[in-house]
Symmetry: C2
Subunit: 680 residues, 2 copies
């Protein structure tokens, strides 16, 4: 690939991106697409008037870009939470570090690469891309110290930026924790593997244990029940009933005039009352000892235990409770809306086994993915394969090249997109590096050009997969089509509660992967940097826009993804340095190689320092903060109110109705129902 | 090496062992050697009458063996502590598992190996040792399932035995903790990296912090001071004075009749008094603000904080104190006699850096050792080297073989002895395994005999290094000679306080290394097992004897070495299974290979289960136990007494005198002395 081809490719991609984003700026103004592009606002405000027809609706406008760019971090924090801010900070960090890298490498390293070998230069547009990579620097060149210096500048800038970002997010997290409104999960401990008593109920055991060992701070507890089949059926029936009632209401509003409405509603209300009465009756039956054999509630060896203060709950969750570490296992409780009740029924002794199985499965899955990726990656190395095994030349040309040459990058991008994992990159490096070295040692100078990472491939990957993913993220094609289909074919109305949450699980790895590409390619093939910078700038605008308008934050980790991003960046830095070490070695520059080693050690030390300095903030709550929060609540007289709320925060049965509360209140019902062992 | 040579070697070694142990049984009866062989009893009883001359003193007797054998674990626990019991249990476990392995492998695997190939068998004494290893089983043999079954039996027995041993030691540890007398370290937390105040002293900061956040449980605290040079000189002077006084006393007892003794002692007492008075004076000077510029006590950013209960101390040590994880770093305090004060002066921010440096240094050190070991190990592979590189044959025969053939095993044993680490074994395996496979694939059937581990070498290693080390451990040659020299050349008396403590740091790795050899060789070369069994039986007797008679336990970890031993044994099992997997693969028995994989997975699961079930017991104290202990002390009315003792438990200056207590009591002096930053 030469410069002209690259520029053409870039031009096409820029065109596509511009087109898609213009299309987006028009589509977002259409009232029919409000649920696609303004899901978040819809959920917040419930109604949004965009119905007025005007010509302006069909003219592309950059207003949304300006708005997304100008919104401050504080506004994002206020509207979308700390996780969104952490994600935006990842983009900001990337923009900053790759701006520095671009300046250093484009003005320092690139000319050096270009004039690295005394070869006849053709016109720049016709130059091969390899001429701009480190592969063009001759072996034993005295100018490799410039590459080494660039690596030093990039690494040191990364340390400084990473440190300040980590500190900033850590401070935000501390403020997030201390300023947050009282959260039931801070006062609650999930106790698992409660030892089964010889007589009496589990509830008594929990009560006795905590009044004995945590007398001063124990408030109350709530047992967790394994729901029987009949119980499940009843819950389902209640759900169906509610739906029917809702539909009746809707139909009522739609078709029937006033006179019918009241009747239906009354009936619905009666049915509702009846159902509730039935439930109450069954609860009363239980209280009277008339337990129905089909509606047994089985106590599980797990319970939520409520404490008077946050500090007491944290202590109970962190200290080893019993001399048998497999019983009385305590953890801070999840947030009420985040509880998956059927998971809590799993006996603790199965948990570790399941965790190992999950880990094993994920490793197997990862390795399974490596096979196709390595195969496809191998296709991009066809020319090398040919040189290593000359007999393949004819066969390859006939069979493979003709079929794959066009689709190659697309397919690569596709598979790579699915991988989005770092391991593959490493594996390919390890796998192909010795082969390259072997070829070089045979004295073939031309193949030395191949010894830098697949710059062409990665640049194309950034252009296609990177830029395209952002445009498609903005335009949300699938949602758009689904919205259209739903509305005009199935005739359904928008459901304001079905707003999606931000897909951190796919977007964070993607951004980090591009960071990895940037670090590893920066000094080897600096041409990638401008394209990467455009990706991050575009990403900054698009993601902020989506966070502000489209997605709601259903779950808030309080910025806990930052340590992952930090560690991955450190890994990328380390990998870049190790690759540089190897390339300098291949280029026979022991001085440059030698200077990379202190950098490697410093990176490890920096990582360790950050781990010590900031990591615990993201994993634990500090005594100082918790006690201050507790004291503040006490002086404000909020504590009693919080204790009251705690009692009804975690509801196992039909969260919308109050009727089943009697069954879960403080586990008193447990004394009347049949007790079955589902603990261990 | 053939069977006859092996038996001869064994005979010689048995003879040497018998001779040394007989010599020991005589030497231990000599009154002059009491300090060498009964250091522990000497320290306990102060005097021991063995002076009566009798002929029996010069006749070897097996009485000590019987006594060492019959002593119960409870007696060892009572006299030498839990660590000694844990060490003995390691030996018991080894004896049990290798008895099972010996029965299974000698009766099941060994005949199969011997008749594995239809070759002409010579008389057994002239058979090569390789004929008794798995190398003699032909490729694709249908009898390899016996080896696989033996591996299953050994592994499953190991799981059962390991589980029960772990449980037993864990129970003993729990009893050890709950039954132990009140220990100041259980009530004390070492706080490091106390933030430096803008005004006021560090002591005030500590006081304010703990009265604010741990008001209900905080008792008092004691600052740690960086000792200036003059302070050090004074301490040294006091030590010299004490020595002079002791010598005077000794001389007094030795040469002078009663009339002189009293005078000297009175004078000594006066000197002592004088010195103490001086110290008091300097302390008083400080109190009056007349601080001497040369005797400044610099406050360090570290302190011992005392709590009212054990539970409170554990909470304070485990919970993150401040929102800055690098300040207010808390840990449970070490035991008073285990404090190394100058280590506590090190600022916390240097600590992690030092830890990393230590780790790096140990890795470098390990790799440095691998070079000579691999070289020496390489010498034992000379025949293989010759086959791989035929041109070496002549050269090697001339130069190396003639020089090394005799000394080979001794030198190997020596270097191996120094290594005593597992990594080397792995490295050699990884290094030589591909070479072997390569040779085999060339169709040379004879070399297949070489593909089992160096059975000959390891058997010789057990015979020489193993047995000899035990005999020399019993006879304690260096101590014997040193005792003789000290007594008859320098004319010094025995110092009852200089009894050595048990060298766990060398003996535990040694025993574990032999365990590793046993597991990895068991099914491949079963002939090693009887020799290993003799080693463990002999070790059982010798170590128990030494624990009972020679060594004192100066430091008690409460059996915390057991998890290390357990994990190492698991590692040995895993390694044995991986090697078996490889060997079955080389022998082209996919079924046997396939059956090893579930075993590998089960070993990992077992390891994970034990880690969850038992490990926390060795790392943390449980709330239940601590609260029970606290309650018991309170009901017995011991608590006030304990609190009183806490105040004087940790003494930084002159631990034997009470005079310096004023300087460290509760840090009140800190307000008067100059304060310098030595924190971070």
């Amino acid at each position: 690939m030469n410069i002209f081809a690259l520029l053409t490719s870039a031009g096409i991609n820029i065109g596509i991106c511009a087109l898609l984003l213009s299309l987006y700026s028009v589509l977002r103004k259409q009232p029919g697409n409000v649920s696609v592009y303004f899901g978040r606002r819809l959920a917040e405000q419930q109604n949004r008037s965009l119905d007025s027809f005007s010509l302006e609706r069909f003219v592309p406008s950059p207003g949304w870009i300006v708005k997304a760019w100008k919104t401050s971090d504080e506004e994002i924090l206020a509207s979308a939470g700390l996780d969104a801010v952490a994600f935006v900070r990842m983009l900001v960090f990337s923009i900053r570090i790759f701006s520095i890298a671009a300046v250093v490498c484009l003005f320092g390293v690139l000319p050096l690469n270009y004039y690295g070998q005394y070869r006849h230069h053709v016109k720049i547009p016709s130059e091969s891309l390899d001429v701009f990579t480190i592969a063009n620097v001759e072996q034993g060149s005295r100018w490799l110290w410039v590459h080494c210096l660039a690596l030093y500048i990039i690494s040191c800038s990364a340390y400084v930026l990473l440190y300040f970002e980590y500190r900033r997010i850590a401070q935000m997290r501390l403020i997030h924790i201390t300023q947050s409104s009282p959260n039931p999960s801070h006062f609650t401990v999930l106790v698992r593997s409660i030892p089964w008593p010889e007589e009496g109920s589990l509830s008594d055991v929990v009560h006795n244990f905590f009044t004995k060992y945590h007398a001063s701070s124990y408030l109350s507890h709530q047992m967790i029940y394994r729901v029987g089949k009949v119980q499940k059926l009843m819950n389902d029936a209640e759900k169906v009933y509610k739906k029917v009632c809702l539909k009746a209401n809707m139909m009522d509003q739609k078709h029937c005039p006033l006179k019918y409405r009241s009747g239906l509603c009354v009936e619905a209300a009666n049915t509702s009352q009846l159902s509730h009465d039935e439930f109450d009756l069954s609860a009363k039956n239980k209280d009277l000892g008339l337990s129905d054999s089909t509606t047994k509630l089985q106590e599980c060896a797990a319970a939520f235990v409520f404490f008077k203060t946050r500090y007491a709950a944290v202590i109970a969750s962190e200290v080893l409770q019993s001399s048998n570490p497999m019983s009385w296992v305590t953890d801070l409780a999840p947030e009420p809306h985040d509880v998956h009740w059927s998971n809590l029924w799993i006996p603790y002794r199965q948990l570790w086994f399941r965790r190992i199985a999950t880990r094993l499965a994920s490793i197997v899955f990862m390795f399974l993915f490596i096979v196709p990726v390595t195969f496809v990656q191998g296709l991009s190395q066809l020319d090398q394969l040919q040189q290593a095994f000359p007999f393949l030349k004819g066969i390859l040309k006939k069979i493979v090249l003709s079929r794959w040459q066009e689709k190659k990058h697309m397919l690569q991008g596709l598979v790579f997109y699915y991988m989005e994992c770092v391991l593959c990159q490493c594996l390919i490096w390890i796998y192909y590096q010795p082969a390259k070295y072997h070829i070089e040692s045979e004295g073939n100078t031309y193949t030395a050009c191949q010894s830098c990472p697949k710059a062409t491939f990665f640049i194309t990957y950034v252009l296609t997969s990177g830029w395209a993913s952002l445009s498609s993220e903005a335009i949300r094609l699938f949602s758009l089509i689904w919205n259209f289909t739903k509305k005009y074919i199935f005739g359904r109305k928008n459901d304001p509660t079905s707003v999606p949450s931000f897909p951190y699980h796919t977007e964070v790895p993607r951004v980090l992967l591009f960071g990895l590409l940037g670090f590893t390619c920066a000094i080897l093939a600096p041409l990638i940097l401008p394209f990467l910078l455009v990706y991050f700038l575009l990403g900054y605008v698009v993601y902020r826009n989506q966070i502000l308008n489209v997605y709601v934050s259903k779950y808030e980790t309080g910025g806990r993804m930052w340590p992952i991003a930090h560690n991955t960046t450190i890994f990328s830095l380390l990998l870049a340095q190790i690759i540089a070490l190897g390339v300098f070695g291949v280029k026979k520059s022991p001085v440059a190689s030698g200077f990379v080693i202190p950098l490697l050690i410093f990176t490890l030390l920096f990582s360790e320092y950050c781990r010590q300095r900031f990591r615990p903030i993201f994993e634990k709550f500090s005594a100082q903060d918790l006690i201050e929060m507790d004291k503040e609540d006490e002086t404000c007289g909020r504590m009693d109110e919080i204790h009251q709320q705690l009692q009804s925060a975690y509801r196992q049965f039909s969260p919308d109705s109050d009727s089943s509360e009697s069954a879960e209140d403080d586990g008193s019902i447990a004394r009347d129902v049949d007790v079955k062992d589902c603990s261990n």
